[in-house]
Each structure stands twice: as C-alpha cells, then as structure tokens.
C-alpha cells in the first residue's frame, strides 16, 4: 500500500502542481488585502481539468503558501498579507527596521515549515482514528455536527452573530436550488434549466471572494492608494538555523496550539497566531524583547498559523465538514472532482486520502526550499501595483467560471455573486459563512430528513440523544461567544478601573 501511495504522489504533474500552487500562494499571500481564500478561489479554475490528486495538490500548495506568504508583507511593510499574519508584524517589522528583514523572513519560513510538518503528522495520526469513531455516528449526530460547523464559524470568528447567521442561512438556502436529490422535485429554478444542478460552489466562490475584491479595491486604486509605500529594505539573512532552532520549545508549543485550535471548526490561523504569540511572550525568558524585534516573536505566530493547515483537514476528510472558508473551497473542488469526503472515503479511497496527507508533507518541504531559494523574488512581488492585478483577476474569474461547464450562465452567476460579495463587505456581513452554508447545505438537509424519518417527525430526537444534544449545546454556546467575550472584557475593564 505504501508503494502505491508513494507512486501516486510522486508523478511529475503532481510535483509540478505542488510547486505552482505554493509559488502562487506565497505571491498572493504576500500581497496585502488578498487572503488565503482568495488564493484558493483564483486557482480553482485550473483544477477542473486536472486529476483529483494534482488538483488538490495545487490548492493545498496555495493554502500553505498563502498562509506563509502573509508574513512577507507583515515583516516588510507592517501590513499582514493575510489575517493569519496579524501577530507577525509585532516583531517582524521592528526586525526589518533594524535591517534584519532577512532574518525575520527566514525565521518565519522555518517556523511555518515546522508547524506545517507537525500538523501533517497530526493529520496522519488523528484522521484515521476519528474516521473510525465517525463510523458510529448516525444522522442526528451528523446533523448536529453540520450545525456546529456553521455556528462555530459564525460565533468564533465573527463579531456580528446576527449578520453571520443570516449569511450562513443564505448559503444553506442557495444549496436548495436545483433538483432535490430525494424527491426529484425542482426547487427555485424559476424556469431556468441551467439551475438544474444548483449553484456551483466554485462559481459562487470566484464571485464572492475574488471578483468582489476587484470591485472594492477599485476605489482604493482610483484614489491612488496602493499601500506599499514604506517597504523596508530587504537585508540578507545572517541568522543560522541553530539560532532559530534553539527556540524549539516555542515552536513545538505553537504547533500544538495550531493543531488543537485548527481542528476546531471556525477558528483558523489568526486566532492561533495571536494565541501562540501571547503564550511565547508569557513564557519567554526575555519578554521585554517582544515587540522590539524578537526572533521568537516571529517564530511563534508563524509556526502556529501554519500548524493549522493540516489540522483543518481532519474534520474535512473524516466528516466532510469544512472548518473554515478556505477548506470549504477545497471541499467544493473535491465535490467537482466527484470525491465526497467523509467516513466512507477512508474505506473506499484510502490510498487517495493518504496520498493527500503525504502530499501535504511534501508541500511543506517544498515551501522551505522555495522560500529559501526564491525569497528575494517573492519580496519583489510586494512592489507589484494592485492596478495590474485587477484586470487579471477579472479575466481569470470570467474564464474560470466559464471553464467549469462551458456555459456563459455560470459567468453571469459569478458576476452576480461578485456584487453580493461586495455588498456584504460594505454592509459588514461576513462572507465566510456563505460558502460553508452552501457546501454543508445538502449534508445538513439529508441528515435532518433522515433523522426526522427515524423519529417519525419528532424534532426532539436531536435533544434526546446525548451526543447530538451536547454538540447542539456547544453550537449554541459558540454562537454566544462574542457576547460572552464582550462581557468578560467589560468585567476586566471594570476591575482595572477599580484598581486604579
């Protein structure tokens, strides 16, 4: 079996796709304002005609690359390229100002690779175990898990729960368009036969994430804001590997945070990075150096945020539930390739699953190589004016959405979702719950239907079964998280004021 896995992994096209995905991911991640989801969404059209493994490697490369790439602009221009790099600026930029940008970038690279590799091992170890447990899960528990997948994203990552909920429900609603697979009935097709198969996830993603970015960036570009005015000078790295690895404890701790937090739906790299940074500062022998240019301060968040990449695949591969919007795009790509992630994948297509895990490991190794060899080139990417990118993205989105089924209707749908995505941004509606709702819709409805069939239409079935009741309770609590956090902050502030 091992031989088969290695053989399927190490084909020339797979290796090329891993590296293309990585390079594109690093470039997109390095550009301020373009995030990991954008990187995956833009590369999505290129996977349609690829073999499922090669396509996934391309997207996984982009996922890992963009997560690391965010650190480049964080270090050089004090602007995180992606939200995951939000904590990297605290020490990365001060290091760059001291002429040690090269050292900071190398620390970020080593940390990212270390976190990514450890996360892969976690995926290899835990995913088969969870898949075995998942075999015992029945419809009510599955439904509860779907609800949790959605509410966790809304509650843990977004401040406005009401808007997040509405966006998630909108995504679920969109998933009902087309032919109902159970009864064969048409739903919300308004006489349009193009909607027979429903909305294509890839088309929605391209519109909501990529095209909407063009629309919103156009105003900034017109105003002449490119945001890359103060680029710190790129000084060659002088730091030795052993000087980085002496912080091995911080790296292991941050990786563990990344793995644990990443496996929980709705969390992601930004939370992990902040958490890892704070913990590294708290436990450091030299906490006063944090914020003034500490290598450890760069290592901790970068190790943590890349340690999320493998962990987020655990719920995806074992249960078919995406933990965040990036993984929702990956799920969309898989569905288009005819692969349904979940419990059965481990028994029916185990070689494919392990090839994905092995490929992720290899991607992290390639990331170290690319980062080491081409860092100067990636740094220059920050200088690329946004105005060049906008028409390129429009063309890519249009051609990409057309290429899915060779119909113009998809291009118009993509454009419509571009406007919806733009409006959502303007009105402070989070976009992340939309794709998660869309990809979870079918699974949620199917399991809701099955559960109600088992219970004869009694919805209490979800509360009388202990596991589903607990998951639903956790889902409810996660929705209340922003309010709980607000209350805790208020109490803390009141306490601090009383002390003064």
């Amino acid at each position: 079996m091992l031989q088969e896995i290695v053989q399927s992994m190490l084909t020339p096209i797979n290796l090329i796709m891993m590296n293309i995905g990585l390079a594109a991911g690093i470039i997109i991640g390095a550009l301020p304002g373009l995030n990991v989801i954008f990187a995956i969404a833009v590369l999505l059209p290129f996977t349609f005609d690829l073999d499922s493994l090669a396509g996934m490697y391309l997207l996984l490369g982009a996922y890992c690359g963009a997560t690391y790439g965010g650190s480049i602009s964080a270090i050089l221009i004090n602007t995180p390229g992606t939200p995951s790099a939000c904590a990297t600026i605290f020490d990365g930029y001060p290091l760059a100002q001291k002429g040690r940008a090269g050292d900071a970038l190398r620390a970020a690279l080593v940390g990212s690779t270390f976190g990514g590799i450890l996360s892969c091992f976690a995926l290899m170890f835990f995913a088969p175990m969870i898949a075995k447990i998942a075999l015992k899960i029945t419809s009510p528990e599955y439904f509860a898990l779907c609800v949790f997948g959605l509410t966790a994203v809304i509650g843990l990552s977004e401040k406005n729960v009401i808007k997040g909920l509405l966006m998630g429900m909108f995504g679920l609603f969109l998933s009902t368009v087309g032919i109902d697979s159970q009864e064969g009935v048409q739903r919300f097709m308004f006489g349009n036969m193009q909607l027979l198969g429903g909305f294509k996830v890839a088309v929605v993603m391209l519109g909501a994430f990529a095209l909407s970015e063009v629309i919103s960036k156009s105003r900034e570009v017109y105003r002449g804001e490119t945001g890359n005015a103060n680029i710190a000078k790129f000084g060659k790295s002088t730091i030795k590997l052993k000087d980085i690895l002496k912080y091995w404890k911080t790296m292991i701790k941050s990786s563990l945070f990344g793995i644990i937090i990443g496996a929980i739906p709705g969390t992601g790299g930004a939370i992990t990075a902040m958490f890892s940074y704070n913990e590294a500062r708290r436990s450091s022998k030299n906490p006063e150096k944090f914020g003034n240019g500490s290598i450890e301060g760069v290592l901790a968040p970068e190790t943590g945020n890349n340690a999320v990449t493998g962990a987020t695949l655990i719920p995806l591969l074992t249960l078919g539930i995406p933990g965040d919007a990036c993984v929702a795009v990956l799920l969309g790509a898989l569905t288009m390739q005819g692969i349904t992630p979940g419990i059965s994948l481990f028994s029916s297509n185990s070689i494919w699953v392990y090839a994905i895990m092995g490929g992720l490991l290899l991607i992290n190794v390639f990331m170290l190589l690319q980062g080491h060899l081409f860092i100067r080139g990636f740094v220059n990417i920050i200088k690329v004016p946004v105005i060049i990118m906008l028409p390129c993205i429009v063309v890519l989105c249009s051609v990409g959405s057309f290429a899915i089924s060779n119909v113009m209707f998809d291009v118009f749908v993509m454009a419509a979702f571009g406007l919806i995505g733009y409006a959502a941004k303007k009105l402070d509606f989070p976009i992340a719950p939309l794709p998660i709702g869309l990809v979870l819709g079918n699974l949620t409805e199917t399991n809701l239907r099955r559960s109600l069939m088992i219970s004869g239409g009694n919805p209490l079935i979800f509360f009388t079964r202990p596991i589903s009741a607990v998951i639903l309770a956790v889902s409810f609590i996660s929705l209340l998280m922003p309010y709980i956090r607000k209350m805790i902050d208020k109490k803390k502030a009141a306490k601090a004021q009383a002390q003064v």
């Binding site: 909108f170 009935v185 017109y222 429009v394 249009s398």
Partner: protein
C-alpha cells in the same frame, strides 16, 4: 458615521425580513411543486428545509431589525444637535464613490461582449478601459496585463483544451 451605519442596518434587516416572508408565503409554495408520486415520510418534504430556513431568516433578521432600531433611538438621543455642514461633494469625490459601480458595469459589459465577440477581442477592449478608468498612465503596466492574459488564454485553450468563446 455610526448612526448612518445603524440606519443602513435597519434598512437591510427590513429588506431581509420582507424577502424571507415573501419566500415563506409565495416563492416556496410556487417554486417547489410537491411530487404526488413521493411516498416518503410526509413530515419532511422538499419544502420543509426551505421553510425552516425562511422562517429562521425572518426571525434572525427581525431580531437584527429590533437591535438596530434600539441602537438608532439611543444614538439619536445622545447625538449632538449641532448639525455639521455636509461635506462638499466635488466631482472627483463623486466619481471616487461611484468607481466600484462603474467598474462593475464594465465587468458586466465585458461578460456580455465575451459571449458576443469572443474572449480575445473583449479582453483587448476591457483591459485598457479598466486600467484607464483607474487612472493608470504607465504603458508598461498595460503590456504586463496583456502578457498575463495571453498566458491564461494559452493555458485554457492549449493545455486544458477549453473552447473559449
């Protein structure tokens, strides 16, 4: 600024309430015709899940509406009575505000042309127009974009064998 945002929220939430109510009462029954041949469980039909979602959206948007309304009343009470002069709107400012919509309109035109006159011609027209509108005056940038588009074309046509219009 805050009061403007809250007012915006009131309108958006009211809109979602109306749309979800419309879906519940009109679109779901008219757009989902139940199959008479369906012999499954009657407690759950093709309409059930959309009904649950429409009702859920109505309830959540009603809560959002009330929340925004309360915030609006509170903000109105505390807001300064002195009205500041409205910012002078120059032509430049108006154009800046309208730019996302102008670009969006251009994208729609591009998609229509994409279908009518094909990828190459429509892209050749759209690219410089968009860049010019966004005040790009560096001719080299135009060339870079064309080079990228040529690469995209080659990849999709020659590598993926996708017949673009």
């Amino acid at each position: 600024m805050e009061i403007k945002k809250v007012r915006q929220d009131i309108v958006v939430m009211a809109f979602i309430m109306i749309v979800s109510a419309l879906f519940y009462t009109y679109f779901i029954p008219s757009q989902i015709r139940l199959s008479s041949a369906w012999s499954g469980n009657t407690s759950f039909s093709s309409r059930t899940f959309p009904y649950v979602l429409a009702a859920g959206m109505f309830i959540v948007s009603s809560i959002g509406f009330l929340k925004a309304l309360i915030s609006y009343i509170k903000l109105k009470k505390t807001a300064e009575t002195v009205k500041t002069n409205a910012q002078e709107k120059t032509g430049q400012k108006i154009l800046e505000k309208a730019m996302p919509f102008i670009i969006y309109a251009l994208i729609i035109v591009y998609i229509i042309l994409f279908n009518k006159i094909g990828f190459i011609l429509s892209t050749l027209i759209m690219t410089p127009l968009m860049m010019f509108l966004l005040r790009c005056r560096n001719w080299r940038y135009y060339l870079y974009v064309y080079a990228f588009e040529a690469v995209v074309y080659v990849i999709f046509i020659a590598v993926f064998k996708i017949p673009l219009p």
